[in-house]
Amino acid sequence: MASPQPRIGVITYPGSQDDRDALWALAALDAEAVAVWHEERDLPDLDAVVLPGGFSYGDYLRCGAIAGFSPATAAVHEFAEAGGLVLGICNGFQILCEAGLLPGALLRNESLRFVCRDVSLIVERDDLPFTKRCTAGLPLVLPVKHGDGRYLPPPDLDPAQVVLRYVDNPNGSVGGIAGVCNEAGNVMGLMPHPEHAVDPLLGSDDGALLLASLVDAAREEVLTAI
Protein backbone atom coordinates (compact mmCIF):
# COMPACT_ATOMS: atom_id res chain seq x y z
CA MET A 1 0.00 0.00 0.00
CA ALA A 2 1.29 3.46 -0.85
CA SER A 3 1.95 5.54 2.24
CA PRO A 4 -1.07 7.74 2.92
CA GLN A 5 -0.91 11.47 2.37
CA PRO A 6 -1.63 13.28 5.63
CA ARG A 7 -3.97 16.29 5.63
CA ILE A 8 -2.43 19.35 7.27
CA GLY A 9 -4.48 22.51 7.71
CA VAL A 10 -3.06 26.03 7.56
CA ILE A 11 -5.22 28.72 9.13
CA THR A 12 -5.59 32.05 7.37
CA TYR A 13 -6.43 34.94 9.70
CA PRO A 14 -7.07 38.44 8.40
CA GLY A 15 -3.48 39.72 8.17
CA SER A 16 -1.78 36.31 7.83
CA GLN A 17 1.06 36.52 5.32
CA ASP A 18 2.90 33.24 5.35
CA ASP A 19 -0.09 30.95 4.91
CA ARG A 20 0.62 30.44 1.20
CA ASP A 21 4.29 29.62 1.80
CA ALA A 22 3.26 27.16 4.51
CA LEU A 23 0.72 25.51 2.19
CA TRP A 24 3.31 25.37 -0.60
CA ALA A 25 6.04 23.94 1.65
CA LEU A 26 3.77 21.26 3.14
CA ALA A 27 2.58 20.22 -0.33
CA ALA A 28 6.20 20.08 -1.52
CA LEU A 29 6.89 17.73 1.40
CA ASP A 30 4.09 15.45 0.25
CA ALA A 31 1.26 16.47 2.57
CA GLU A 32 -2.20 17.44 1.42
CA ALA A 33 -2.17 21.07 2.49
CA VAL A 34 -5.63 22.42 3.34
CA ALA A 35 -6.40 26.13 3.66
CA VAL A 36 -8.69 26.88 6.64
CA TRP A 37 -10.42 30.26 7.01
CA HIS A 38 -10.34 31.83 10.47
CA GLU A 39 -14.13 31.94 10.73
CA GLU A 40 -14.41 28.14 10.61
CA ARG A 41 -15.60 27.01 14.03
CA ASP A 42 -15.14 23.35 13.06
CA LEU A 43 -11.95 22.14 11.47
CA PRO A 44 -12.17 19.79 8.49
CA ASP A 45 -10.78 16.29 9.02
CA LEU A 46 -7.07 17.06 9.64
CA ASP A 47 -4.00 15.21 10.91
CA ALA A 48 -2.15 18.39 11.94
CA VAL A 49 -2.64 22.17 11.96
CA VAL A 50 -0.21 25.00 11.24
CA LEU A 51 -0.77 28.58 12.42
CA PRO A 52 1.24 30.74 10.02
CA GLY A 53 3.15 33.99 10.36
CA GLY A 54 1.90 37.47 9.60
CA PHE A 55 0.09 40.19 11.49
CA SER A 56 -3.29 38.69 12.39
CA TYR A 57 -5.93 41.35 13.06
CA GLY A 58 -3.23 43.96 12.57
CA ASP A 59 -1.50 42.71 15.74
CA TYR A 60 -3.65 45.30 17.54
CA LEU A 61 -3.54 45.36 21.36
CA ARG A 62 -0.82 42.65 21.56
CA CYS A 63 0.53 40.37 18.83
CA GLY A 64 -1.78 37.37 18.49
CA ALA A 65 -4.17 38.55 21.22
CA ILE A 66 -7.26 38.98 19.07
CA ALA A 67 -6.59 35.91 16.91
CA GLY A 68 -6.42 33.97 20.19
CA PHE A 69 -10.23 34.34 20.34
CA SER A 70 -11.15 33.69 16.71
CA PRO A 71 -13.48 30.76 15.93
CA ALA A 72 -10.75 28.70 14.21
CA THR A 73 -8.43 29.16 17.21
CA ALA A 74 -11.15 27.77 19.49
CA ALA A 75 -11.33 24.77 17.16
CA VAL A 76 -7.52 24.44 17.29
CA HIS A 77 -7.77 24.49 21.10
CA GLU A 78 -10.09 21.48 21.05
CA PHE A 79 -7.92 19.76 18.42
CA ALA A 80 -4.79 20.24 20.59
CA GLU A 81 -6.53 19.12 23.77
CA ALA A 82 -7.49 15.89 22.00
CA GLY A 83 -3.78 15.33 21.27
CA GLY A 84 -3.72 16.82 17.74
CA LEU A 85 -0.44 18.16 16.35
CA VAL A 86 -0.28 21.96 16.21
CA LEU A 87 2.65 24.06 14.99
CA GLY A 88 2.68 27.86 15.32
CA ILE A 89 5.21 29.84 13.31
CA CYS A 90 6.07 33.46 14.24
CA ASN A 91 2.64 35.14 14.58
CA GLY A 92 1.25 31.60 14.97
CA PHE A 93 3.57 31.15 17.98
CA GLN A 94 2.31 34.45 19.42
CA ILE A 95 -1.29 33.32 18.90
CA LEU A 96 -0.66 29.97 20.66
CA CYS A 97 0.87 31.81 23.64
CA GLU A 98 -2.02 34.28 23.81
CA ALA A 99 -4.54 31.43 23.49
CA GLY A 100 -2.91 29.64 26.43
CA LEU A 101 -1.83 26.62 24.37
CA LEU A 102 1.85 27.41 24.94
CA PRO A 103 3.52 28.94 28.00
CA GLY A 104 5.01 32.43 28.01
CA ALA A 105 4.66 35.61 25.98
CA LEU A 106 6.41 37.35 23.10
CA LEU A 107 7.41 40.97 23.59
CA ARG A 108 8.92 43.78 21.53
CA ASN A 109 12.50 43.00 20.44
CA GLU A 110 15.04 44.33 22.93
CA SER A 111 16.67 46.39 20.14
CA LEU A 112 13.25 47.87 19.17
CA ARG A 113 14.26 46.99 15.59
CA PHE A 114 12.51 44.62 13.23
CA VAL A 115 14.99 41.80 12.54
CA CYS A 116 15.01 40.09 9.16
CA ARG A 117 17.89 37.70 8.60
CA ASP A 118 19.01 34.09 8.77
CA VAL A 119 19.83 32.80 12.25
CA SER A 120 21.52 29.65 13.54
CA LEU A 121 19.54 27.57 15.99
CA ILE A 122 20.49 24.81 18.40
CA VAL A 123 18.06 21.89 18.48
CA GLU A 124 17.47 20.95 22.13
CA ARG A 125 14.85 18.26 21.51
CA ASP A 126 14.96 15.84 18.58
CA ASP A 127 12.32 13.48 19.95
CA LEU A 128 9.24 15.57 19.18
CA PRO A 129 6.79 15.13 16.27
CA PHE A 130 8.21 18.42 14.95
CA THR A 131 11.91 17.60 15.26
CA LYS A 132 12.42 13.86 14.70
CA ARG A 133 14.35 14.47 11.49
CA CYS A 134 16.70 16.87 13.31
CA THR A 135 19.70 15.91 15.43
CA ALA A 136 20.06 17.49 18.86
CA GLY A 137 23.16 19.63 18.92
CA LEU A 138 23.36 20.07 15.14
CA PRO A 139 22.50 23.67 14.20
CA LEU A 140 19.69 24.68 11.84
CA VAL A 141 19.77 27.84 9.74
CA LEU A 142 16.37 29.50 9.35
CA PRO A 143 15.21 33.06 8.61
CA VAL A 144 13.57 35.25 11.25
CA LYS A 145 11.50 38.34 10.45
CA HIS A 146 9.77 39.91 13.40
CA GLY A 147 9.52 42.97 15.60
CA ASP A 148 8.02 41.18 18.60
CA GLY A 149 10.00 38.00 19.13
CA ARG A 150 11.48 38.41 22.59
CA TYR A 151 10.31 35.28 24.37
CA LEU A 152 9.55 35.58 28.06
CA PRO A 153 8.95 32.20 29.70
CA PRO A 154 6.74 31.82 32.77
CA PRO A 155 8.84 31.47 35.96
CA ASP A 156 8.00 27.77 36.20
CA LEU A 157 8.83 26.73 32.62
CA ASP A 158 10.19 23.18 32.50
CA PRO A 159 13.54 23.39 30.64
CA ALA A 160 12.50 20.22 28.79
CA GLN A 161 9.91 22.36 26.96
CA VAL A 162 12.64 24.37 25.24
CA VAL A 163 12.95 22.99 21.70
CA LEU A 164 15.15 25.56 19.92
CA ARG A 165 17.62 28.21 21.06
CA TYR A 166 19.34 30.96 19.08
CA VAL A 167 23.11 30.68 18.74
CA ASP A 168 23.27 34.49 18.47
CA ASN A 169 20.18 35.94 20.15
CA PRO A 170 18.52 38.37 17.68
CA ASN A 171 15.75 39.77 19.91
CA GLY A 172 16.66 39.47 23.60
CA SER A 173 14.67 36.30 24.26
CA VAL A 174 15.24 34.97 27.77
CA GLY A 175 17.73 32.09 27.58
CA GLY A 176 17.93 32.60 23.81
CA ILE A 177 14.71 30.60 23.49
CA ALA A 178 13.46 30.45 19.88
CA GLY A 179 10.91 27.65 20.16
CA VAL A 180 8.97 25.83 22.89
CA CYS A 181 6.47 23.00 23.17
CA ASN A 182 3.65 22.27 25.59
CA GLU A 183 4.06 19.69 28.36
CA ALA A 184 2.50 16.92 26.27
CA GLY A 185 4.75 17.71 23.29
CA ASN A 186 1.96 17.92 20.68
CA VAL A 187 1.94 21.72 20.37
CA MET A 188 5.02 23.69 19.35
CA GLY A 189 5.73 27.31 18.50
CA LEU A 190 8.80 28.99 17.07
CA MET A 191 9.71 32.47 15.85
CA PRO A 192 11.95 31.41 12.89
CA HIS A 193 10.30 30.42 9.61
CA PRO A 194 10.82 26.82 8.45
CA GLU A 195 8.33 27.33 5.59
CA HIS A 196 10.66 29.91 4.00
CA ALA A 197 13.59 27.47 4.05
CA VAL A 198 12.60 24.28 2.25
CA ASP A 199 14.74 24.66 -0.87
CA PRO A 200 18.49 25.39 -1.20
CA LEU A 201 17.57 28.14 -3.69
CA LEU A 202 16.04 30.05 -0.76
CA GLY A 203 19.36 30.02 1.12
CA SER A 204 18.60 27.04 3.35
CA ASP A 205 16.50 23.92 3.28
CA ASP A 206 16.81 23.24 7.01
CA GLY A 207 13.16 24.19 7.46
CA ALA A 208 12.26 21.02 5.61
CA LEU A 209 13.71 18.99 8.51
CA LEU A 210 11.10 20.48 10.86
CA LEU A 211 8.16 20.43 8.44
CA ALA A 212 8.96 16.93 7.10
CA SER A 213 9.07 15.73 10.72
CA LEU A 214 5.56 17.14 11.11
CA VAL A 215 4.44 15.48 7.86
CA ASP A 216 5.90 12.13 9.07
CA ALA A 217 4.11 12.46 12.42
CA ALA A 218 0.84 13.44 10.72
CA ARG A 219 1.17 10.41 8.43
CA GLU A 220 1.50 8.20 11.52
CA GLU A 221 -1.79 9.70 12.73
CA VAL A 222 -3.40 8.53 9.47
CA LEU A 223 -1.92 5.04 9.80
CA THR A 224 -3.11 4.77 13.42
CA ALA A 225 -6.60 5.76 12.36
CA ILE A 226 -6.81 3.11 9.62
Binding site: R62, I66, L107, L112, L152
Partner: protein, 79 residues
Protein backbone atom coordinates in the same frame (compact mmCIF):
# COMPACT_ATOMS: atom_id res chain seq x y z
CA UNK B 1 -20.89 54.37 31.73
CA UNK B 2 -17.33 55.38 30.88
CA UNK B 3 -14.38 53.35 32.07
CA UNK B 4 -10.65 53.91 31.71
CA UNK B 5 -8.23 51.00 31.80
CA UNK B 6 -4.53 51.54 32.46
CA UNK B 7 -2.31 48.67 31.36
CA UNK B 8 1.31 48.66 32.49
CA UNK B 9 4.29 46.37 31.95
CA UNK B 10 4.81 44.50 35.23
CA UNK B 11 7.79 45.46 37.38
CA UNK B 12 10.86 43.53 36.30
CA UNK B 13 9.67 43.12 32.70
CA UNK B 14 12.20 44.73 30.39
CA UNK B 15 10.56 47.67 28.61
CA UNK B 16 12.85 48.76 25.76
CA UNK B 17 10.34 51.42 24.64
CA UNK B 18 10.46 52.99 28.09
CA UNK B 19 14.26 52.84 28.05
CA UNK B 20 14.43 54.52 24.63
CA UNK B 21 12.05 57.28 25.72
CA UNK B 22 13.90 57.75 29.04
CA UNK B 23 17.16 58.09 27.17
CA UNK B 24 15.63 60.56 24.68
CA UNK B 25 14.35 62.66 27.58
CA UNK B 26 17.90 62.61 28.98
CA UNK B 27 19.17 63.97 25.65
CA UNK B 28 16.65 66.81 26.00
CA UNK B 29 18.22 67.70 29.34
CA UNK B 30 15.57 66.17 31.62
CA UNK B 31 16.75 64.04 34.50
CA UNK B 32 14.70 60.87 34.21
CA UNK B 33 15.66 57.86 36.27
CA UNK B 34 13.07 55.48 34.87
CA UNK B 35 10.45 55.53 32.11
CA UNK B 36 7.92 52.76 31.51
CA UNK B 37 5.35 52.70 28.74
CA UNK B 38 1.88 51.21 29.06
CA UNK B 39 -1.42 51.95 27.39
CA UNK B 40 -4.77 53.58 28.10
CA UNK B 41 -8.03 52.02 26.92
CA UNK B 42 -11.21 54.11 27.18
CA UNK B 43 -14.47 52.19 27.10
CA UNK B 44 -18.15 53.04 27.10
CA UNK B 45 -20.02 50.17 28.77
CA UNK B 46 -23.64 49.36 29.52
CA UNK B 47 -24.07 48.65 33.23
CA UNK B 48 -26.67 49.23 35.95
CA UNK B 49 -24.21 50.71 38.43
CA UNK B 50 -20.56 51.48 39.01
CA UNK B 51 -19.75 48.23 40.81
CA UNK B 52 -21.22 46.12 38.00
CA UNK B 53 -19.37 48.15 35.39
CA UNK B 54 -16.08 47.75 37.27
CA UNK B 55 -16.53 44.01 37.65
CA UNK B 56 -17.29 43.64 33.97
CA UNK B 57 -14.31 45.73 32.81
CA UNK B 58 -12.05 43.74 35.14
CA UNK B 59 -13.23 40.58 33.38
CA UNK B 60 -12.38 42.20 30.04
CA UNK B 61 -8.88 42.87 31.38
CA UNK B 62 -8.42 39.29 32.56
CA UNK B 63 -9.63 37.82 29.29
CA UNK B 64 -8.23 40.18 26.66
CA UNK B 65 -7.11 43.69 27.53
CA UNK B 66 -4.07 42.66 29.59
CA UNK B 67 -1.78 39.63 29.50
CA UNK B 68 -1.38 38.70 33.18
CA UNK B 69 2.10 37.23 32.63
CA UNK B 70 3.56 40.55 31.52
CA UNK B 71 1.07 43.29 32.38
CA UNK B 72 -0.86 44.70 35.33
CA UNK B 73 -4.01 46.76 34.97
CA UNK B 74 -6.10 49.33 36.82
CA UNK B 75 -9.76 50.07 36.13
CA UNK B 76 -11.30 53.44 36.81
CA UNK B 77 -15.01 54.12 36.31
CA UNK B 78 -15.34 57.75 35.33
CA UNK B 79 -19.14 57.94 35.43
Amino acid sequence: MRATVLVRPKPGILDPQGEAVGSALGHLGFEVRDARIGKVIDLEVEAADEATAKAEVEQMCERLLANPLIESYEVEIVG
